[in-house]
């Protein structure tokens, strides 16, 4: 038998082997650290590799496994997006502004994963402050799509998706403000889940847009995503917007099947602008669901055409406020040679932020300015209410909604970065979910003529994670056999 390549395992299969003592936790972690050393210079997923921490955690995980007390994540090597704080580990948000920022505390979600025995291999690349859809706005490096190194991995959680797709981690924690988990998962051919707003604590996630941000899992399979979600979900006393939900096992829900499931397809999501290959993969998925006993139909959601502008107004407005704290006074980058507070703030921000971040701050500041507030920010909030209501109405009729995750497959590095509007419009299928606070998962549903992965999005009711997991898992089984 050929030697087992442990980096190709899933969380579930690695857990089974660890539990049966067929592999060891330290040996598993070493395999990933070796692969990172060998391959990541090409993929460029990691910003910081925590080899020492990882090996220490792996040793402790093995002890727990030996003592019979290890859970599903015990000994599982994962990567963490670089906007999720871990005490003592540099957290940059891929920005020059936080080049030397070492958090004095650990994010709740990261803490829960580590408490469950997971091994943190390192912090992975992203768009600067999670603003972008290609990981090209990172101050540090450009992460490549493992399916084609000339293409982007998507973003902003590009490092999370690329690390999982390239077998550089078994799973990852990303964050999703307007599609930042689902879109890179689709581009990289992995599974990405954005939980219901409030299911996962945001404490320790460096804020981009507070009313939209959620931490969620990126993994190779739907089941692995569910295993991660089981650990990170649940009320947290340090996040006043996190919500108490009944104890449930998401991992147990993935095999429930879709017989009798009512699926809605927003007609607006199949309209012009959608790549033919993507459209045909999505329609093929619909046929698979029908073959499995689900009922699918198209319906109208007219408010969706306003989702992208509303999203960019709300997220930029909140970002302009959230990012004001980077003034050079307390932490992070500070510009040299300043004579006054005003000059210090202005120079620090001019030199510390990249172009895309500045663009969003300016847009958001403008949208909130007196005299413009009613026309922009307030209008966007009204659209938000409208979109929420249309989703509520849709869920009176359907159990889940499906759509493409992205209008195209992964594009070339450099292809769109000079054209922000094109990039923004590509968020058309993902942002409405954040605006409405709903859960959604992207699962691979095929490939285009260049063998680039295509993702299908399944959207659920608030706290309907079990519904979207079973729906995604059914397609995964149907397509992969």
């Amino acid at each position: 038998m050929a030697a087992l390549d442990m980096t190709k395992l899933t969380i579930k299969s690695a857990h089974d082997l660890l539990a049966k003592k067929e592999i060891g936790a330290v040996e598993l972690t070493e395999a990933f650290l070796d692969r990172i050393t060998a391959v990541d210079s090409d993929v460029c997923a990691y910003l910081t590799v925590c080899a020492e921490l990882a090996l220490k955690q792996a040793g402790e995980a093995q002890k727990a496994i030996d003592a019979g007390s290890g859970g599903m994540l015990c000994g599982i090597p994962v990567s963490i997006k670089d906007n999720i704080c871990i005490e003592g580990v540099r957290t940059t948000c891929a920005s020059k502004m936080l080049e030397n920022f070492i958090p004095p505390y650990t994010a709740t979600a990261a803490g829960r994963v580590m408490d469950a025995g997971a091994v943190v291999l390192g912090k992975v690349n992203m768009d600067e402050f999670a603003m972008g859809g290609s990981t090209e706005t990172s101050y540090y490096k450009k992460t490549k799509n493992p399916h084609d190194l000339s293409r982007v991995p998507g973003g902003s959680s590009g490092g999370s998706a690329a690390s999982v797709a390239a077998n550089l981690a078994l799973g990852s924690l990303g964050s999703d403000t307007g599609g930042s988990i689902r879109q890179p998962a689709a581009f990289c051919g992995v599974v990405g889940l954005k939980p219901t707003y409030g299911l996962v604590s945001r404490y320790g996630l460096v804020a981009f847009a507070s009313s939209l941000d959620q931490i969620g899992p990126v993994a190779k399979t739907v089941e692995d995503s569910a295993i991660l979600l089981d650990v990170i979900g649940g009320k947290d006393q340090y996040d006043g917007t996190s919500i108490e939900v009944p104890e449930t096992s998401y991992a147990a829900s993935v095999n429930a099947g879709v017989k009798g499931l009512k699926i809605g397809i927003p007609r607006q999501y199949l309209a012009s602008g959608l790549d033919e290959a993507v459209k045909s993969a999505v329609l093929n998925a619909v046929r698979e669901y029908e073959a499995l006993g689900a009922v699918a139909e198209e319906f109208d959601m007219p408010s969706l055409k306003h989702a992208v502008p509303a999203y960019y107004l709300i997220s930029s407005a909140e970002a302009s406020s959230n990012l004001s704290r980077y003034d050079g006074i307390k932490y992070g980058f500070r510009a040299d040679g300043c004579e006054s507070y005003g000059e210090l703030v202005s120079k620090t921000r001019a030199q510390g932020f990249g172009r895309e971040v500045k663009r969003r701050i300016l847009l958001g500041t403008y949208a909130l300015a007196s005299g413009y507030y009613d026309a922009y920010y307030k209008k966007a909030l009204q659209i938000r209410t409208l979109i929420r209501r249309e989703f509520e109405r849709a869920f009176e009729k359907y159990d889940v909604l499906i759509s493409p995750t992205t209008p195209t497959t992964a594009y070339k590095i450099g292809e769109n970065i000079q054209n922000p509007l094109t990039m923004y419009l590509a968020d058309i299928y993902t942002v409405a979910v954040n605006i409405a606070g709903l859960p959604a998962i992207s699962v691979p549903c095929g490939a285009d003529e260049n063998k680039l992965p295509i993702g299908l999005s399944v959207i659920g009711r608030p706290f309907g994670e079990a519904d979207i997991l079973k729906t995604a898992a059914a397609l995964e089984r149907a397509l992969c056999g």
Binding site: S210, G240, S321, S370
Partner: protein, 479 residues
Amino acid sequence: MPYLPTIGLEIHVELSTGSKLFCGCPVSFGGEPNSRCCPVCTSVPGTLPVLNRAAVQYAIKAGLALNCEIGLFSKFDRKNYFYPDLPKAYQISQFDLPFCLDGYVDIELNGEQKRIRIERIHLEEDAGKLVHDGLDKYSLADYNRCGVPLIEIVTKPDIASAQEAKAFVEKVRLCLLYAGVSDCKMEEGSMRVDVNTSVRPVGTDELGTRTEMKNLNSIRSIVRCIESETARQASVLDSGGRVVQETRRWDDNKGESRAMRSKENAHDYRYFPEPDIIPAEFTQEQIEALRASLPKMPHERYLEYTGKMGLPGSDANQILESVALADIFEDAAAISANPRTSASLIIVEILRRLNDMGLSPEQIPFDGAALGKLVKMMDERQITANNAKKVLTLMFETKDSPDKIAKDNGFAVISDVAGIKSVVSDILKQNEKAVGEYLAGNAKTFGFLMGQCVGALSGRADPQVVRAVLQELLQKGQD
């Protein structure tokens, strides 16, 4: 030309909750710089505010104490501006839906009542403090105060003089003290006042342009600042100038103000709803429960004290100055059924002793029940007024009840007339000469004999009884 001032106030009051508004750090005054902060107060990336429910209750109690309507749906908003004492570069405050609206306070000035309306009271976080090196080389930030819960009380422009402003601030302070939501120590900055002043010629209705004076921290400076600003604006107008809408800084040492920031340079705070804190919703029942939990307010107590309890207004006000005194008074009056003696013991005896010992009313070591018991003992002639004062002194020193102190120290009144007679009779025998003089018609010697008797009884007998006995026995000698 004579002018009339129109004044509106914004009063910032720090709430005396145990912990800060959005984290568990303690709320207290002084201490080492940056010793009471955590990643939340210093806005370390990724941290989130978690609302302190007690602070919300305090804010609503403050509103109820100041006769406000309480909004059943309230939310927080972000007020965005850059300043080094504000780590997040935004202050979490309330913009359009504050907890409390439309209140009022009645003040009394020169025997006349006036109602000052309160527009709103909102809850927000305090900022830190900057310490300057004095050489303009650097400034240091102390974040201890960051996140301390603060209410801002905004009045309507109903105040027409410095004295009205003084009366209003004093009344608000007293109400908040009674509500138990703040220590209102102006000297420690837990109560700070912004004053908006404009003047208009007598006989006109249209309000003039206003100026704002920020962060006044004593009643005296509020009064001086209003008087100075009223005069300054009047002289600007009289000399044909125009008052500029601006923020001015009051210099209490010089007794004058100077311009700080004009309206043209005013901030655009870009308020928007705070996404990290879910809006607060209350039921009318919850509000009523908070109302029921409030102690009686000072004006209500004033009416009781000066009404059925029969105290003069000045005495009532003196007791009402302190919640501790008022509570002791009410308990003592209830137990003794003698409010006037209870009040006079507090005002004359207790306040003098507190003053001598350098204590505050909160530090009185006995409760109102003990004081009431003492008053009752006096009324029942178990103890003389003179000895009651001695008992009171000892009540500050021991934890004993007044009757035990009286008993242990032999202060209890000898109430049987036979006992008194035997003592008086002995005195008369020892002072035959004086008795002789009295009997010879020298009435003055009665006082001497009376003094001897009282002395021999060491104050333990009712002087009126002693007098009667003495008269009786002397009468007998005459016969």
